[in-house]
């Protein structure tokens, strides 16, 4: 058998299969995913999923019949163990082999695991997969105190969810501010205030010594290095991920913190592509190689790959964007703010509706918005078009920013 084989059923893998058919590709498509579930969406896992009553079905990208109708083969519950580039074949964990014309690596990321005493106790969890969230869900009823390790998006989104569910939540942050890799100190402080308003206890400079056992293999408490003992029946570690490049490295594809791809998302093997969290590419907005862990990046790269495989002209030049939901705050980020020289604010923090417009010299490079989605949408167009509004236009909330780029 030949055709396209897609490794991974997350946003990038699913999108690639879908976009191949939309682009008119009529060869065989096989999507292989180790998890054993129909491809599903991960973003809600740390956000709305535990608060919704719609259940797991609402996470699915598509029902089974969609894949059948579009002749997309699914091999679920099987991992690919090797890529044999010379034979253009992949090998599965049941020793089956699949031939390919084009191979798409959408292997995503691997959880960073806690490495401390007590990490394997019952009640210590992570959030990346459906199985992870089922595990957490199964512990929620008997949880009064939740301790969350980490100060990034997953940790804080789960803090928000757990607080909404009435749990007493403590967040342990190793550094001195939350979301330190994603936003500027002003926004970190604003979000910290929001968490405080919801009764979440956030501790900075917190180093975990160990997780204590109740004598029956369950979590009972978290002990910090300064001696503090925090009762906990559930410990969630949101301490980041690393690119899952194992297969690519073994196949001797060019990798360094990600599978290196060109503007068509091609690896150094012209028949192998990579998309999503595990792909590293030269980002035109920063002028350097980066790897992004976001839905936008996964979806847009997958679409480019599908178009290229279908023989169309395409390249990946999208402006990066992200979002996070915490309490009633919708945080949206577009562009890359690193290296900014100054910023202007639109709207007011007191109203919980404001945006920060980041400039490098006289060029708009990023916008971070809180509950101002129209600024975000306008920002995507502005940054893509290279149009920079003036300080007066930004600060005048009645000025329509999208009027600068209306088609």
């Amino acid at each position: 058998m030949t055709g396209v084989v897609i490794v991974g059923g997350g946003h990038a893998g699913y999108q690639c299969a879908d976009s191949l058919r939309r682009a008119g590709y009529d060869g065989e498509i096989t999507l292989v995913d180790g998890e054993g579930h129909l491809p599903y969406q991960r973003p809600p896992l740390s956000k709305s999923h535990l608060l919704n009553d719609t259940g797991e079905e609402a996470l699915l990208f598509r029902t089974q019949s969609y894949y059948d109708d579009h002749n997309i083969g699914l091999k679920l519950g099987h991992r690919i163990t090797a890529i044999h580039r010379a034979d253009k074949q992949v090998e599965l964990d049941n020793s089956e082999t699949l031939g390919y014309d084009k191979l798409v690596l959408a292997t995503g990321a691997k959880l960073r695991q806690l490495d401390l005493p007590g990490a394997a106790l019952n009640g210590v969890g992570y959030i990346k997969s459906l199985d992870d969230i089922r595990y957490i869900q199964s512990h929620l009823n008997q949880t009064e105190d939740a301790v969350i390790i980490g100060g990034g998006f997953i940790a804080l989104e789960f803090a928000s969810t757990a607080a909404k569910l009435g749990k007493k939540v403590t967040v342990l942050v190793r550094g001195q501010r939350i979301l330190a890799n994603a936003v500027t100190p002003e926004l970190s402080q604003y979000m910290l205030d929001i968490h405080h308003q919801h009764g979440v206890d956030i501790r900075f400079g917190a180093e975990v010594d160990h997780i204590a056992d109740d004598g029956n293999g369950n979590v009972e408490a978290v002990r910090l290095k300064d001696g503090t003992l925090l009762p906990a029946q559930l410990v969630l570690a949101g301490i980041g991920v690393t690119a899952d490049t194992e297969l690519a490295v073994e196949a001797k594809l060019l990798c360094h913190d990600g599978v290196v791809v060109d503007a068509q998302c091609r690896t150094n093997d012209p028949d192998i592509f990579a998309a999503g969290d595990s792909a590293r590419y030269n980002n035109p907005f920063t002028g350097r190689e980066i790897r992004l862990e976001s839905v936008q990046n996964a979806v847009d790269q997958a679409k480019v790959i599908a178009q290229v495989i279908a023989g169309q002209d395409a390249g990946y030049h999208s402006v990066p964007w992200f979002w996070s939901d915490q309490y009633d705050i919708k945080l949206q980020m577009v562009g890359v703010h690193e290296g900014y020289t100054h910023f202007y604010q639109r709207g007011s923090q007191e109203d919980d509706k404001f945006s920060l417009f980041f400039f490098r010299d006289d060029r708009l490079i990023a916008i971070h918005t809180v509950n101002r989605p129209a600024d975000h949408m306008a920002g995507r167009k502005l940054i893509t078009a290279g149009v920079s509004p003036t300080q007066e236009q930004i600060e005048d909330v009645n000025f329509k920013l999208n009027s600068l780029v209306k088609k």
Binding site: Y66, H70, N371
Partner: protein, 107 residues
């Protein structure tokens, strides 16, 4: 289960039965009804699930949030008085039979 009628831009109609609480966007996307994208998984963050709700049903819809209102100012297809984001509308007995018209483009 409540029924939702999706009408594509070129007039093709698809009828689906959705579980209560499932959003109009989820119903369309999961079942492969084209014309609604829903890139952000229903988080009211991408404006790619824009739809036009048939006038007969407009009054029965839940009120629009400020966020949705703002997002609708930036849809790919023209905003009309009956524009909504379909990720913000849940299937329910009250909306049984609702008719949803798809816009020409989402992005």
């Amino acid at each position: 289960m409540p029924t939702v009628n999706y009408v594509s831009f070129d007039g093709q109609s698809t009828q689906l039965e959705l579980a209560e609480g499932m959003t109009i966007m989820q119903g369309a996307v999961m079942n492969g009804v084209e014309g609604i994208e829903g890139e952000c998984s229903g988080s009211c963050a991408c404006a790619t699930c824009h739809c036009y709700v048939d006038d007969a049903w407009l009054a029965k819809l839940p009120e629009m949030s400020e966020n949705e209102d703002e997002m609708l100012d930036d849809t790919a297809s023209e905003r009309k008085p009956n524009s909504r984001l379909s990720c913000q509308i849940k299937a329910s007995a009250e909306l049984d039979g609702i008719v949803i018209h798809m816009p020409e483009e989402q992005e």
